[in-house]
């Protein structure tokens, strides 16, 4: 069943169009900056953007920061929201179930498919933006220009290196290996954050036969969370909001790595994933399929 779902994923034009668009945005940004040399000054604009002019190999981080707030969650919510509701809407859900595909099995296969899609999207963005960054900005300018970021504002600046090492946000130098590890860590945290989104959308997808209803429901939850995260009066619940630690992956680029928020980010997403998957399973395995 998992193989069938993966086949459906790769045969679906939507999968590739959405990933193409996700990759295209950072590329467009890189081209604009390369042509005009008007990178945002340190401390303003997108995270890492001021640094990439000096070091293209940091561009994956900047690209992830560009797609993370809106585009990535929208794409993930659509794919996850489509998983059950989409089958119900075209009527194929009942034919899968009487094939028979067990309900738990179907849900598991859908989950694996969503995970694969998220990984595919995040890794595609990382790779294309690395290639773009290095091609447009080079990877190793001779002199280091990095400086400690303005971390209080939550918008870090990056810096550079000489001879195959990047400079961390804290100014210390990172080797290429360290850089790869840290980008890997960032990809992992972002993927897990997106799985939180996916779990909410998957749960809603078992409630309704409308793909848009499920996808927008999940997005509404995220927007609501974003609003509360910036609201001081909501400080009491902020540690439990799904988007609270979304930007914690930036801490991978500090020296030494600032683990506190990263760990909390992984933790809170694990809880969201577990709770919403359990709810999705409980609802789907007991519901009357009338679609």
């Amino acid at each position: 069943m998992i193989a069938v779902e993966l086949f459906k994923l790769v045969r679906r034009p939507r999968t590739w169009i959405s990933i193409l668009l996700l990759c295209a945005l950072p590329v467009a940004v890189a081209i604009f900056i390369a042509v005009t040399h008007l990178a945002p000054p340190p401390g303003q604009g997108g995270a890492f953007l001021s640094a990439v002019v000096q070091d293209g190999s940091l561009f994956p981080a900047a690209a992830l920061a560009l797609v993370l707030p809106v585009f990535l969650p929208v794409a993930v919510a659509l794919v996850a929201g489509d998983s059950i509701a989409g089958e119900a809407a075209v009527g194929t859900l009942r034919y899968l179930l009487i094939r028979p595909v067990g309900r738990t099995r179907l849900l598991a296969a859908k989950l694996v498919t969503v995970i694969v899609y998220v990984l595919l999207a995040v890794v595609s963005v990382t790779l294309t933006s690395y290639i773009t960054g290095v091609a447009l900005f080079g990877s190793a300018p001779p002199e280091a220009v990095g400086r400690p970021g303005s971390l209080q504002a939550g918008i870090p600046t990056g810096g550079v290196q000489a001879g195959g090492s990047a400079t961390s946000l804290s100014g210390a130098r990172l080797t290429i290996m360290q850089l790869i590890e840290r980008i890997g860590g960032a990809v992992a945290l972002i993927t897990v954050s997106m799985l939180g989104v996916a779990a909410i959308a998957l749960f809603l997808s078992t409630l309704t036969d409308s793909v848009l209803g499920a996808a927008f429901g999940a997005l509404a939850a995220l927007v609501g969370s974003e609003v509360l995260v910036t609201l001081n009066a909501a400080a009491a619940i902020q540690p439990y909001l799904p988007t609270r630690y979304w930007l914690a992956w930036i801490d991978f680029f500090r020296q030494p790595v600032f683990w506190r928020d990263i760990q909390r980010g992984f933790g809170i997403q694990a809880v969201y994933v577990a709770v919403f998957l359990a709810a999705a399973w409980a609802n789907f395995s007991t519901k009357d399929v009338t679609a």
């Binding site: 069938v4 075209v90 009527g91 034919y95 179930l97 009487i98 094939r99 595909v101 009338t290």
Partner: protein, 316 residues
């Protein structure tokens, strides 16, 4: 093959299926009839484990539903309401995909089974066009092919004739009769009475969730003891038969008589010309309309009687 005991499904305040005791025997061609909204589709969905019963038991192929559907359904082919397929893939790709999705469909002979099923429903020469471009009739044929891919012991078909033209319906009827002859039990729901009359050996009639009739069609359609006679000499015949004529028009009459041959001999012996003569059978339409009320899609202003032909226009 299919046995239910006081099967009941309640949606909120609506009793969709009400204490149904269905009995479909091996080898039957069973037709489930009833007006729109009488609970046919809900019943079919419960048999397949899609909808869970509120009360009662279901046994399909001798095993309980929904507990053991994973063992039952690989041997069942089904069409539930409209057929469905992934619109961006071809019909063939759809059948292979569904076959690969569950148990009981071996990969080794998948290609052949899919091709055979397409051949059976008259789509053998189908090209690689996506299902999106299929006509209604082609989609229906594809849905039937999907039900046949694993050569099931039991076919459960909900409104299988939808979207087919008269020739398609005839081909399909013949296909079901042929499959039944080699051992496939056929259970279908329909509101096309004429179709069921031509195809089925046994019928069940649902009316507002209750099974109001379940019997062999041959018994239901046994001669009624009346003979319909066409003759240019109706007036003389009425005089001769003396009170046995129940109804008459210019050139036909309905005679109460058990033996059409003897009746014929008597009329001809008296010099009465007979142009046609048939033993009277109840049509399925008369039987079903007499048992069921109006369908749920009919909303009339004045309140109609609970049952009877007067309230049955919704049944086609």
């Amino acid at each position: 093959m299919i046995v239910t005991r006081s099967l009941t499904k309640q949606y909120g305040a609506v009793l969709a299926v009400d204490s149904v005791d269905l009995d479909v025997r091996p080898g039957d061609r069973y037709g489930l009839l009833g007006p729109n909204g009488s609970g046919k589709t809900t019943l079919v969905r419960m048999l397949l484990g899609l909808v869970y019963a509120t009360k009662g038991e279901i046994e399909v192929l001798g095993k309980p539903v929904p507990r053991r559907v994973s063992e039952i359904l690989p041997e069942v082919g089904a069409l539930v309401e409209e057929p469905a397929a992934y619109p961006h893939l071809s019909g063939r790709a759809n059948l292979r995909l569904f076959d690969a999705a569950g148990p009981g469909g071996r990969r080794r002979d998948r290609r052949k089974r899919v091709d055979d099923a397409l051949e059976q429903v008259g789509l053998g020469g189908i090209d690689r066009r996506p299902v999106r471009a299929y006509s209604l009739g082609m989609r229906q044929r594809l849905g039937l092919a999907a039900a046949l891919v694993r050569r099931p012991r039991l076919l459960v078909l909900d409104e299988p004739g939808n979207g087919l033209d008269p020739r398609g319906i005839k081909d399909f009827r013949q296909l079901l009769i042929d499959l039944n002859a080699v051992g496939t039990t056929v259970f279908l729901s329909s509101h096309l009475l004429g179709e069921v009359e031509l195809l089925c050996t046994r019928v069940g009639v649902l009316d507002r969730g209750r099974l109001v009739l379940q019997q062999d069609l041959a018994e239901l359609q046994a001669p009624t003891g009346r003979v319909i006679v066409e003759s240019p000499d109706v007036s003389r015949a009425v005089a001769l038969l003396d009170g046995r004529v129940e109804a008459r028009t210019e050139a036909t009459m309905v005679v109460r008589h058990d033996d059409p041959a003897a009746l014929n001999a008597r009329l001809v012996g008296a010099g009465i010309r007979v142009t046609a003569m048939t033993a009277h059978h109840l049509s399925l339409e008369e039987i079903v309309l007499g048992l069921t009320g109006a369908g749920s899609d009919q909303v009339s202003g004045n309140h109609r009687p609970a049952a009877g032909p007067g309230g049955s226009e919704a049944v086609q």
